[in-house]
């Protein structure tokens, strides 16, 4: 029974992932990715790590996928097909991936893991929270704080990068001839002034 669950999860993860990287509709790709991520969350549940499975669902499914969907809406029509990947590259990448996969799998297969015999620690939210905010040895308070700084920094970065500022063209990129007004350039190369952003 458990095996069946596992294989279903595995199939969801792998098939979802495969479809996510091959589908030519970007919206569908996002949805396939969603399935794959949910499968991974399922795998965590299957391993009895409920907390991390929940985080996975909340962050990925609730956050990142939604973010991606928004950005898809912002950047392009979701309906039409994406461009076909270059055939040569597809072959190369596929071969490389299969070869690499085979290589790694053979290593995994050949390796004898020594399973731990010690009593398992309950991965409950309580235990996790206790150890994470612990300042003693093996406590994770410092990484926790660092990650919070990182999140703050990335938040600011997102705002700075994505914000729209109107500046005169020559003030931004004085040296690039592409942005000079007095040079005759093909039309598609000349940007309108209001399109130039920081």
């Amino acid at each position: 029974m458990k095996e069946i669950v596992f294989y279903i999860l595995a199939a969801a993860i792998l098939v979802g992932g495969l479809l996510a990287v091959t589908s030519r509709r970007i919206f569908r790709a996002a949805v396939y990715l969603l399935f794959s991520l949910i499968g991974i969350a399922g795998l965590y549940f299957y391993l009895n790590y409920e907390f991390i499975g929940a985080v996975q669902i909340v962050v990925y499914v609730g956050g990142i996928i939604v973010l991606m969907l928004f950005s898809i809406f912002l950047t392009q029509g979701s309906g039409e097909d994406m461009k076909k990947p270059l055939l040569g590259r597809v072959i190369f990448s596929a071969l490389a991936a299969i070869f690499g996969c085979g290589l790694v799998m053979s290593f995994i297969n050949g390796h004898e893991f020594t399973y731990s015999a010690k009593p398992a620690l309950d991965p409950s939210a309580e235990n996790i929270g206790f150890q994470m905010l612990n300042t003693a040895q093996y406590g994770y308070i410092l990484p926790f704080e660092v990650v919070s700084m990182l999140l703050l920094a990335s938040m600011i970065a997102c705002i700075v990068i994505a914000i729209k500022i109107k500046v005169p063209a020559h003030a931004i990129l004085p040296d690039n001839p592409r942005y000079h007004d007095d040079i005759d350039l093909p039309k598609e190369l000349v940007l309108e002034e209001n399109e130039v952003v920081a």
Partner: protein, 104 residues
Amino acid sequence: MNNIGLTHILFISCGLFFIGIYGFLTRRNLITMLMSIELILNSVNINFVAFNKFLWADKLDGLFFSLFNITIAAAEAAVAIAIIINLYRHYKSIDVEVTDTMKF
């Protein structure tokens, strides 16, 4: 349960990783490339969790690593998307082939 060991899970994560690689190498759309990266990150997370579960069940460190990974992946995705949007404003496209000005 006994039949499903660490190896099985590692197979999954390995497959997922190379699927991600394949996607990253073939996809031309930046957002889909970002998706591939998410797959790769997730495969890593699976590994952490699986190792923790099977090899060091008395500890939680693998769990923490994947937790932080998820956090960082979120931050990364956010920044990446910001960059993608910015690029889109410049080039009117998010095709990776277009963004090749940093060459030679």
